[in-house]
Symmetry: C2
Subunit: 631 residues, 2 copies
Amino acid sequence: MTKSRFINKAIPMIVQYLILTLFLRLNIINSLPHPLDPLSPAEINNTRDIVQGSYLGAIPNLTYHFVDVEEPDKKHVLEWLSSNTKEKPIIIPRQAKVVVRAKSETHELVVDLTKRSIVSDKIYTGHGYPPFTFNELFQATKLPLTYPKFKESIAKRGLNLSEVSCVPFTIGWYGEKITRRALKVSCFYRGGSVNVWARPIEGIIVLVDVDSMQITMYNDRYIAPLPKAEGTDFQSSSSSRSKTSASCDVSDIGFSINGNKVKWANWVFHVGFNARAGMIISTASIFDAKRNKYRSVLYRGHVSETFVPYMDPTEEWYFRTFMDAGEFGFGRSADTLQPSVDCPSSALYMDGYMAGPNGEVQQIRNGEPELTLVVRMVATVGNYDYVLDWEFLRSGSIKVGVDLTGIMEIKAVPYTQKSQIEERVFGTLVAENTIANYHDHHLTYYIDLDIDDNSNSFINAKLQRATAIGSGTPRKSYWTVVRETAKREAEGRIRLGLEPAELLIVNPNKRTKQGNEVGYRLIGAQPVTSLLSDDDYPQRRASYTKYQLWVTPYNRSERWAGGFYADRSSGDDGLAVWSQRNREIENTDIVLWHTVGIHHVPYQEDFPAMPTIHGGFELRPANFFESSPLL
Amino acid sequence: MTKSRFINKAIPMIVQYLILTLFLRLNIINSLPHPLDPLSPAEINNTRDIVQGSYLGAIPNLTYHFVDVEEPDKKHVLEWLSSNTKEKPIIIPRQAKVVVRAKSETHELVVDLTKRSIVSDKIYTGHGYPPFTFNELFQATKLPLTYPKFKESIAKRGLNLSEVSCVPFTIGWYGEKITRRALKVSCFYRGGSVNVWARPIEGIIVLVDVDSMQITMYNDRYIAPLPKAEGTDFQSSSSSRSKTSASCDVSDIGFSINGNKVKWANWVFHVGFNARAGMIISTASIFDAKRNKYRSVLYRGHVSETFVPYMDPTEEWYFRTFMDAGEFGFGRSADTLQPSVDCPSSALYMDGYMAGPNGEVQQIRNGEPELTLVVRMVATVGNYDYVLDWEFLRSGSIKVGVDLTGIMEIKAVPYTQKSQIEERVFGTLVAENTIANYHDHHLTYYIDLDIDDNSNSFINAKLQRATAIGSGTPRKSYWTVVRETAKREAEGRIRLGLEPAELLIVNPNKRTKQGNEVGYRLIGAQPVTSLLSDDDYPQRRASYTKYQLWVTPYNRSERWAGGFYADRSSGDDGLAVWSQRNREIENTDIVLWHTVGIHHVPYQEDFPAMPTIHGGFELRPANFFESSPLL
């Protein structure tokens, strides 16, 4: 994963933006803005004008690293939602959260768009940095091309400098007391292949100090043969994906969009975006025909962080332990603030589409056609594509899926045949001179369920063997369900798969007619745990990947599992740290954090582009309804 | 699950048979029969004529329990396949394997259809019995209706006998030294509901001795209220499923059927059926464009056994520990041999259909539309539907899926509210007076992979943490892959999920150009282990469910994980017993046995019919091709 997160972005941006526009123009009804609506293009421009008009505007080289709607108070949002009048009695001020860098300092601003002023301005002095801007990444990759030693290295290899493209890598944190914003730049040879990732110029490492935008370390350690171009022709072509995305003619199946609010079958929910998470699903409720009302299920769900460590400890690879969402952003946008690309910039990678009769998913069961609706985002982060799906089923289930595909991150080696390899390698020889290195993908989802209101409990309902001896029958054993309510956060940290259990989120204050607590169930992803040692630096930064499930009390400021400032973070902020407080999580507003993990051992079939690997989980009603909602 | 495996079968039989006919008439080309073709209607009739013409025909009440093509020698089949001429030089005689019962003895016959004679006739004297015939099941369920004590019980409950339907249950084995063929019959009240399963007449148990067809034990232990009919209207209606099955117009996507041979995209394979397994996939090969030839992947794959224990140890429930495939049969057919239903009887539950542009599955990735083909069988075994899919992807993957849906097996109780329950119950109160009992589904697949020929090895490629200390970089750890070749069967018994590993089946004699062993990888189902105690009788019969993966050397007689004679089996035959021999499994013809398990804790949404629960696994090329076959 990773490699420049921006190369080849220009074309997909436009294509995908047009699709989104098409998508949003379907069946649009005028309405009040939803408090969780992402900032509109006008609001983004206004935000920028307000900041530029303040004292900050006078500072040279002010850079914008994060611009998003300021998280409104959940209480206010819920009040706003439950007020039924067209003229909402509650006015939630539109505010933007902005992170800028000025004079090598990180400013956290809250901009009030109604008051047209900065209402909060704090300087962040902790560990870690906001994501790099597009320009910073771009400039860093251009530096080697004019750097004499690099030109020498290229000449020494007999290559043509005009065919060289470089990509920026975040560098992680390895115990430094004081860090600087820096990138390591790695270069590739385009000559003969449209697949920019296929021909790494191995052995060179370039360290760029980003605040001064200078190369501060250069090492040409060794020369490896350039992998051949033949057989690598492949481009991540999001334009082809868009063909399916056009199937938006679904007005006949009871589907409508009102602003960012989607209504389909028995579901209503809000689709938002930001630069970091990409697509965000909010305030999803399902209509209960028996009770004749909408009942809340999910206040918010989105990707919180991704952790992608590579398993090669050598000089040019050891630092590749990416936290894509935090370091680069699945939405990738707020860094630009350019009129040509930023409206609404957060939608850049949204292939929003709805599956209808001729769409993506159609299941027929029990005489009841179970149509589903899939909201999809494709995040093409450099070499990798993440296809992120939120699927809403009439049965009440929400299925969250992630398909990984795209191009492997490869390393050039002298070998053409496995039998030649004598040293230790850290991946699979997938083609001549080409090793695809072992790595992981851990995608952590933020899932703020509000099951029929926001006082919820988490129940680990364990399946335990019981003895049948003495029952009067010849059976010796059976299993039964032992429900354990998690009282504090420590009981909400779970390694899946160690023992059979149903993982339930219930509202202990609401029961079905039969007296069962209303709830939803998490059917988890295949349990995958990070295998790095606990004291290894990348693992300290992503220590939350040691459990696949965490439960925390809702806290407005806790959304990003790896901490808000992921770049060069040291692990002193984030889910694992918050959870250490061991707060109460019973009968209160709680949040689940679930990690979909994949250990990726590459095979030759994954080259030059890998067939899809799927992961995902399901949120399924469990005594939420009185009976099957399909009948 | 079970409950009469034949009630409501008449209509689906016909509907589904017509669909199959439609399906098989698509694009049919005349050709030699494939040696693995199921018996044709004419062959079944001939088989019956030959048996009836023998000394057995003179025995009164001869019953047919199993009729299938006799498994041909694999060596001969492979020779037949590899001979390329239209006039195959090898003639494999058409033979039928027949199990009949005569004078309370079980005869295993091999009938040669060319010689028109019985070439082998053995009496089976071991534990267990073949499945009941349709007539036996039917007669057993009619017995209570004329049994005075039962009529008394119905009258005592104030019910109308004409509204009572009974269903037969297999009874398992509980340590008896000598067993008889017997069923327990349980009855339901139809009045007011079309859902025959909704209103159990609880507290009565009827034991039927099948060879004498008499009630040998009757117990009316207690009376429970009849669950109400309201809200239960639901019938397992396979007719609705058939709507999708008609989408067979796929001639434009390179799909053809030649007899039972299916050719699609880069795949060619054979689809067979038998009464026990249902759909059987055989001799699947994939075209390798780089090598310009078809390469073998799978010699045979099908459901081998299912184990469905209920978790209620009380008198009326403890014995419900079904082995559906062996006791009843996923194909359900050979018991009939009646002209009206037996042509070809093994196809009765086959909803064969192929997904094309408007079909079931269509994935678009990387600019390459990854069309897939799904071969589906729906086994409506009584109250439950098993939707069994074999999906062939152009990427070389085979995805095997099972969707569970249908009607819960329920128990009548006096309670309408959970708070009233004071005794121990063994399930969830899903409606008034209605408990849906806890249970498991373990589906064990037989998977005889022949990766590029049939000398294969199984490799447990473990992902193990390694230290990076001393590597000269600040990284402390990474993981690497340690490949362990299983030499004997003990090393092929694996509980999935205990440690991270890639499970590979390789051909150690064939390598890619880069020198990697060609192979396939099993991406297993969610690891689920039976929780019954090892010494419990149902568990002894299904002891193979303690591991999710077994590897055995190919043996023509080893196909049914729970033993061939599953009814009343004692666990002295089957996978766990064979594997105890600890045979060599390296670089030889090997078979994988993989169990897809689901612990089912019912919820109110599962009543009266449950939304689909999905399980499955993937067989994925792993250095089988030189590079991605999609490009």
